[in-house]
Amino acid sequence: MDFLQTVVSHYNQWIAVFLMVSGLYIVVARGNMVKKLVGLNLFQTSVYLLYISPGKILGGTPPILAAEFAVYSNPLPHVLILTAIVVGVATLSLGLGLVVRINEAFGTIEEEELFARDPEA
């Protein structure tokens, strides 16, 4: 019973870990370069949850000082993750840009086809 409670009460972490692992799996298992990037983005997104969910305190309010509230949620993870989102967007767009160029240069974005056509690559 104890064990079950631990599992259920950490459901936010389970979701983060599930997303993390599935994202990483897509990166490894898929040969399509766009799909790989989608997986990579999923992987990065899971980290946002990992940061933000522990910052929320049950019954806590946004950290604006007021007489009637005493419990505040931690705002710092939000700020950090805003930065991380920007980084994620930059990575994804640069990655997609590279895929477009690869498609122009090689005529395919499937890894298998690519290696079959150009063994040295």
């Binding site: 990065q44 980290v47 940061y51 980084v87 930059a90 990655g95 590279l98 240069a105 150009d118």
Partner: protein, 493 residues
């Protein structure tokens, strides 16, 4: 006033420069800006090192917000040394850049190359100088994203694949790093390195901290290309434009090694990392594997740039070996090798870059007899090659001396022997290039080339000279490295 703000200027100046280069987008303007900024960078970093050597660590509150709440830039002997390393390499490359870049890149892309170079410089300097774990991640990504672009600018279409592959693996590495930092933040409630080091003692038995250490170790190892996480490196170095290869090979992995040292020794502390976990064994095994396997792969390469890239993986093995040995001599060996390998490998890649500019290819066959046509460049290659092997009188010998001494002290005499043995593999691959370049008849394509222009030869020889001068008199480099190692082992931040 300016003296007080040096830590901020070190990072802000190249960042602003990158923006200006991007906005103006003219090759003729971008290069002088990049050159000026790289020279200013040296001045600032040397001034910081001098201040730190004289008066101890500098703490700078970014934007006036006092640490631990604001972002702190903290300069001690360890990262002042890294700052000097990055700025010096960055500046030596700049006189070399215009001719080489003009030969390899289309005209409308050249200004962007300098923009990316400056951004990369910003990221690397920022990673080294910051005292904040999340800020380090942001700078890590700035340097990574700009290096993906620099690699993709290579002439060969395979450069695109190399950049893509590096983007995937680099992002996984950086994300592992953020996960580790996130777990540490959850446990300690702080992102400031000093603060974190103090608070981690109370929670170090928790599983989250162990998981954080694991994520950070793997994440940073991906960025520093620890064997077997090095797969992105050979193609990236081989197909990037020559200038980008020189810069990345000499600095990017070194800064990642610095971050590794910072987390292992200053934040978690050597006692926690080594006493409770089998990290010594893991690091030693992987390092030895890198030294041997990567060197053997290097021997069988048909492309000089790829060969040198695999050699870099092997050399990174020496650096992590010193981290695994973790005594004063071993760690001094690691830190001094950061500098020594940077100048040696920088010189080698510069010599190859000069050949690429003249001959237009970098496979070994294309180099036949090049020593007779470009004697000055290739003589530099030979001397730097000797340093890579670790011949006495060169910097390579100094690093290996400290590492072997450290291994011997820790009782692992076998490791000292392996350090010597792996040097012989370097003899083989360097010897192969020397044989082809000097003792073969020049092919028709090679017979008509001229010696490289002075703007390429002088920077190359500056690094070649550095790899001999600091090999003959290592008092300065090894002295600073030893002080850095002492500070790390004592866990002082």
């Amino acid at each position: 006033m300016i003296l007080d703000n040096l830590p901020a200027l070190q990072v802000v100046i190249p960042l602003v420069g990158a923006t200006i280069c991007a906005l103006i987008d003219r090759r003729r303007v971008a290069w002088p800006i990049a050159l000026a900024i790289s020279l200013v960078g040296i001045v600032i970093s040397v001034a910081l090192l001098a201040q730190v050597l004289a008066g101890g660590p500098i703490s700078y509150a970014m934007g006036g917000w006092a640490p631990p709440y604001g972002i702190e830039y903290r300069v001690d002997v360890v990262n002042a040394y890294i700052l000097v390393l990055v700025s010096v390499i960055g500046a030596v490359i700049m006189p070399y850049a215009p001719r080489s870049v003009a030969a390899e890149l289309a005209e409308n892309k050249q200004a962007w190359f300098y923009t990316m170079y400056l951004l990369n410089l910003t990221g690397l300097l920022g990673m080294a100088i910051t005292g904040d774990a999340f800020n380090a991640f942001v700078f890590l990504e700035i340097s990574s994203l700009s290096s993906y672009v620099m690699i993709a600018l290579g002439r060969d279409r395979r450069a695109l694949l190399a950049a893509y592959q590096y983007l995937i693996l680099g992002t996984i590495g950086a994300t592992f790093y953020v996960i580790g930092v996130g777990l540490l933040y959850a446990m300690t409630g702080t992102l400031n390195f000093v603060d974190m080091a103090e608070r981690i003692v109370d929670v170090e038995s928790s599983r989250s901290v162990l998981a954080a250490l694991a994520f950070l170790t793997v994440g940073i190892s991906l960025k520093l290309a620890l064997f077997p996480l090095h797969v992105w490196l050979p193609n990236a170095y081989a197909y990037a434009p020559s200038v980008a290869t020189v810069f990345l090979a000499s600095t990017a992995t070194k800064v990642a090694v610095y971050l590794f040292l910072r987390f292992f020794f200053s934040i978690f502390g050597a006692r926690f990392v080594y006493a409770d976990l089998p990290l010594t064994e893991i690091l030693l095994v992987l390092s030895v594997a890198a030294m041997f396997i990567a060197s053997i792969i290097a021997i069988f390469q048909d492309d000089v740039k790829r060969m040198l890239a695999y050699s870099s993986v092997a050399q990174i093995g020496y650096m992590t070996l010193g981290i695994g040995i973790a005594n004063l001599n071993g760690l001094t060996g690691t830190i001094v090798h950061l500098f020594n390998h940077a100048v040696t490998k920088g010189a080698l890649f510069m010599a190859v870059g000069a050949v690429v500019m003249r001959v237009g290819r970098h496979d070994l066959e294309g180099l036949a007899g090049i020593g007779r046509r470009m004697p000055v460049t290739m003589a530099g290659f030979v001397i730097a090659g000797l340093s890579l092997i670790g011949v006495p009188g060169t910097v390579g010998f100094v690093s290996k001396w400290y590492l072997a001494a450290g291994a011997f002290e820790s009782g692992a005499w076998l490791l000292s022997f392996l350090i010597m043995a792996s040097s012989f593999l370097a003899v083989v691959y360097v010897g192969r290039v020397v044989e082809i370049a000097w003792f073969r008849e020049p092919t028709q394509a090679v017979a008509s080339v001229e010696e490289a222009p002075l703007s390429l030869i002088i920077p190359t020889w500056v690094l070649v000279a550095a790899s001999v001068v600091f090999g003959l008199d290592a008092a300065f480099t090894a002295g600073v490295a030893e002080r850095a190692a002492e500070a790390l082992l004592a866990g002082i931040l």
